[in-house]
Structure formats: C-alpha cells, structure tokens
Symmetry: C2
Subunit: 356 residues, 2 copies
C-alpha cells in the first residue's frame, strides 16, 4: 500500500477508484461508459444534480445559494470571482495575502480594477496568517485563501466582514465545518478533498450576482451558469462524477464533522511528532498550522536528509517533498488519507531519530 | 452492444475504456490511481507530453506551433480565441456564421471589439455552408466553425485568408486530414473524436501570439500556457489521459487518413440510404453534408415517427434524436463508431420502409 501525501491531485477513497473504474466500463448496467454518455442524458443529469445536492447537504448550504461545477481550476476562479463581484465603475477588491495563491488572485483582480491588500504575511515568507487588520466596508468584496498548501497555514477563524466575503477554499473544503452563510462566494478546485482534477465548485449567494454593471464573458458569468443548472456547456463529466462518488463516501463515513475529527487527529499526531522529535521543526507559526498540509524541515539537512528520504521512500510513502518555496517536507493529509498512513510517517521520523 | 450515436460526449474506442478503468485502479503498476498522482509527477508529465506529441504527429502539425490541453470547452474558447487575436485598439474579428456555435463565438467576441459577419446561412436555418463571400484582409482574424453538430453541415474546404485563420474544430478534428499551416489557431473540445469531456486542445502558431496589446487574464492567455508547457495550473488529468489513449488508438489503427477513409464510408452508407429511402430526407444541402453528424427527418412524421423510434431503440441504438433546432434525427458518427453500427441503423430504416 502506498501512503500518498501528494499535495493535489491527491489520495481519494479506494472505493471511489473501484466505482469509477467500473462505471468507465459500464455505467450502472446501461451498457455505456460514463464517459460516452450524452451530458444531457437522464443518467448524467442525475449525476450532476446529485453532486450539487451533496455539496449542499455536506456543507449545510443555506437557501439562496447555488452550487455550480465549472472548469478552469481555482486559477480561473481568481479572475472569475473578481469579475463577478468587482464593480465596473470604480471597483475595489480587498485581499488578504497569505501566499502564492492569494498573490495570484490579486494579480488577476488588478486587471479589472483597484486592489487593496489588507494584510500580508510576505514579510516572513507567509509562515503565518495575518490578524488584527481592519476590514473595510467601502470595497466590493474581501477575498481570502482559507488554506495555503505551499506554506502550510490555515485560517482557524474568518474575519467578520460587512462587504461580501469571497473565499478560495480549494485545499480545505469538506475538511471541516464552515458557516457558508458568512460568504457570498466560496470556490474550490476539486483535486484535494472533493474529487479528481478537472472541475471547480462554486457556491454562490444568488442575490449577490448581477450587480457589477459589467458585460461578463458567458463562461465566466456565474449567473449564466446558474440559470442553466451548471450545464451551460458540456461539463467535465468524469471529474463531476468522481466528485459525486467522493462526496457519497464522505456522507457514508459520517459527513464533514467526522472528516474534521479525523483530520484533527491526524494533524495532532504529526505535529506532536514534529515538535517532539529533536531532528525536525515546523515551518509555520503554531496557531496557524494547517491541518491539511503540515510543513516541516530537518534542523540539519546535510546530516539527515539523504537517509530520511531513503527511509520514507522505503516505507512506501509518496509525495512528501516540500514545495520549492519552503523546502523541506510537506505532508498533505487530505480527507482520504488514513491515520494509518500518518502512523507510518511518524514511525519513520522516530526511527530516524533513534538511529541518527 | 449499444450503438452509440450521441452527439458528444460520445462513443470512444472500447480499449480506451479498458485501459482507463485499469489506470484508475493502478496506473502502470505504480500502486497509485492515475487520478491520485501529482500532476508534477514524472508519470503524469509523461502523459501530458505524450498527448501533446500525439496531436502533432496525427495532424502533421508543422514546427512553430504549440499544442495545449486547457479547460473550459470550446465555449470558453470562443472568448479565448478572440482575446488572443483581437487588437485592443480598433480590433476587428471576422466570422462566418454557420450555426449555434458560430453565433455563440460571435457573441463573445463582441465583448472585446468589432465583429464583422462575412456570411451567414441563418436565412435557411443554417442548412448550408456559405460560399463566395469576400475574405477581408483588414481584420485581425477570420473565424470559422469547421463542422456544425446541430445543423449537420461541414466545411469541405476552407477559404483562403491573408488574415489569421482561427477555427473551432470541436466536432471534426482528427476525422480527416487538415492542413494546419493554414491556421493560426485551431481549438477543439475533446468530447467528440479526441477523448472524454473536460479538456480542450489548442493548436496555436507561436509567432501569432502576444500582438494584441491587451492585458489578458492568465488562464485565458495562450502565451502563459505555452510558456508553462500546458501546466500553468493543475490540468484536467483524466481527460488528458483519456485523450492520450484515444490518440494512441487512432495511431495504431492507421492515423487520421485511415479515420477519414472510414468516416467517408460510414457517411456514404447512411446518406445513400437517406436518399434512397422514400420515407426519409436529409435536412442539409448535399454538398455541405457533415460526415460527422448526418441530420435527417421523416417526410411524414405523424405516420412513422412512433414506430421508427421504437424500432431503433429495439435495435440498441442510442442518441439518435435530433437537436430541437432541427428536429428529426441526427446520427453522430465519430471516429470510434464502427461501420457495423451504421449498418444496423440502415437496416432499421430499410425495415421501416418495407413494413410501412
């Protein structure tokens, strides 16, 4: 068994692979593969409807919100979120800059209007979540990145905002409970906790749309997609189907609150070892540590890296190398990573210390 | 066996389903599913490189062109093509309007500048391909839709143009030889001849890019994607992989020239029956008939439709219903539809006539 710590695309539940493989051969006894069916067929429309309903159910999405499965990843979402919320005349978007993904969101928004950066942790290589900044009311929206895969930080609570709150939750959606009613827009690439790469979920407050005075390209216009029940054009069929299966699994396992419990346990197990083990240290401020992507380094890389790398590879661990912006290691622990895999990693870390 | 005449997503080769299902369980003995591997892993980078190389090989793409696998379908391509080619100051795009997809492309381009419609077949519900119009030289580009799925027409030759020629080839790419050197941009949603829904191929002339004077959103900027070898952000892994498998199949079967031969045979078989059978008639001008999507109607629907519909369903034929804009029937016959399936349909048509 491979212990898959990839940062995304990443581990998904084994039963999702089994069901997806089966449906690629023959979808529910129809004699057709899930990927050769018309997206307007009753069978696929059911998949899309079910996927959208599961998002609502798992995240307790209140009435007045629409769930969409679109394409382009959060990277297109940076522009899409801004163009749907920033006014055409004198538009201003406010951003909290917590790392690469926030910075990219800021860059795209600047093509559309003024951007106000409320706070940034760039001064310390994004190793913490800024706090204590004033949240303005005279902006079109405030944009956050809830979890920062590269730097290993995560918002533990969200600022109160009178302006519409938009959030890129790509890397921690479905990992813990979230009060959707606080947000006008949540968007997230599927390829962490939700499913295979190739679709992006948008959860948008209906009454917030259509207020910018802009002519928005159809494929970037959330109102257009909403009016077509997320089927304005051919959807990314397999990615939506895989997401539906993954959400079915979450539901069966006990829903998001159960995922949250498991993720807390996994994170505690690994962070405890990082703190205890004399050879390692975490790279982020303790209170802002991500439960999804713990990042850590060897205190003495020269002395131990070669052996540690060999040891975890021997233990069938995959994808532990840190992002080049931080170095060291990153143990991405999304919903489908079992605690058994974390125990294996912790054991390797202990073994390294014992035998150093 | 189901005879799958769906207009897209549509039939793909059986061995693509087999290999894709296997790789979802375990990709090449890695112990990992193709959909849980990092897109930066050596294994997936090879898939992406191979997919891009196969497009070049199968279509004889000349040097100086780049192949990209992006997201959003041709529907996003309508805007993407325009924003990468239409000048910021005084930009003009020219379009030949051959139906719904062209009309949508025109709509998106109008958000960016002036649009000149060179010719349209709207006067006859798009049942022919306009000819004999003057191709201007004082425009930024000329845009065509090579095959019109809904109306069943297809360009049999392309106009000569001194302005850059852009073409949406979503529904006939890989179905016949094409001289890529005539185009500055070809784009195509995967879900017809190329693979599963969820990715869109762009074949773009390198020297044509970066000349509009526009600030283009990163995800819509073909130069950005080109500079990152089509991995600017997480690609739609499964759709790219499925496309690679489908292209491997095409290559093994004899390439695009062999596909063209088979498609000619299938089209001839069905159109001959449409013309011969007293109960049916085609809906398009004969010289512009699509080899991909023959459209036809019953001359007397009231008398025969109920029975014909029952008969083809009994014969395990799927997806024959025409688009609501045309009515009647549409037999989409993409590369992976075997001639045996066409024989079954023709037999049903003959049987209807015999027993009417």
């Amino acid at each position: 068994m491979v212990h898959n710590y990839s940062a995304g695309p990443c581990v998904l539940p084994q039963e999702v692979f089994e069901k997806a493989a089966e449906s690629i051969r023959d979808y529910n006894g129809t004699g057709l593969s899930i990927i050769e069916m018309s997206h307007r067929s009753k069978d696929f429309v059911e998949v899309m409807d079910r996927a959208r309903a599961l998002v609502k159910e798992l995240l307790n999405v209140p009435d007045g919100y629409t769930v969409l499965f679109l394409q382009g990843g959060a990277s297109l979402g940076f522009y899409t979120s801004a163009i749907n919320f920033m006014k055409n005349e004198g538009g201003v978007g406010a951003y909290v800059d917590t790392g690469s993904w926030s910075s990219k969101a800021i860059k795209e928004a600047k093509l559309l209007g003024d951007v106000r950066v409320l706070a940034s942790s760039q001064d310390q290589n994004f190793n913490y979540i800024p706090k204590g900044y004033e949240v303005p009311t005279d902006v079109d929206y405030v944009h956050l990145t809830s979890n920062n895969t590269i730097f290993g930080t995560q918002f533990k609570s969200f600022p109160e905002s009178k302006a519409p709150l938009l959030c890129d939750m790509s890397s921690d959606i479905f990992s813990k409970s979230v009060d959707v009613s606080k947000f006008d827009l949540i968007y997230a690439g599927a390829q962490k906790n939700m499913g295979p790469a190739g679709t992006t979920v948008y959860i948008v407050k209906d009454e917030a749309l259509g207020k910018t005075g802009r002519a928005i390209p159809s494929m970037l216009d959330l109102q257009v997609h909403s009016s077509k029940d997320s089927m304005f054009n051919t959807p990314p069929v397999f990615a939506v189907y895989g997401s539906m299966l993954t959400m079915e699994w979450m539901k069966k396992e006990g829903g998001v609150s159960e995922m949250e419990k498991r993720n807390e346990m996994k994170a505690q197990l690994l962070y405890s070892e990082i703190d205890r083990n004399a050879l390692f240290e975490g790279t982020t401020k303790a209170e802002d540590r991500s439960n999804m992507n713990p990042t850590f380094v060897l205190k003495d890389e020269e002395a131990h890296a070669a052996r540690f790398d060999q040891m975890w590879k021997n233990a069938n661990i995959n994808g532990l190398k840190g992002h080049r912006s931080v170095g060291g290691y990153r143990a991405s622990m999304y919903n489908a990573l079992g605690i058994g895999s974390v125990r294996v990693l912790v054991e390797v870390m202990k073994e390294l210390e014992r035998t150093a």
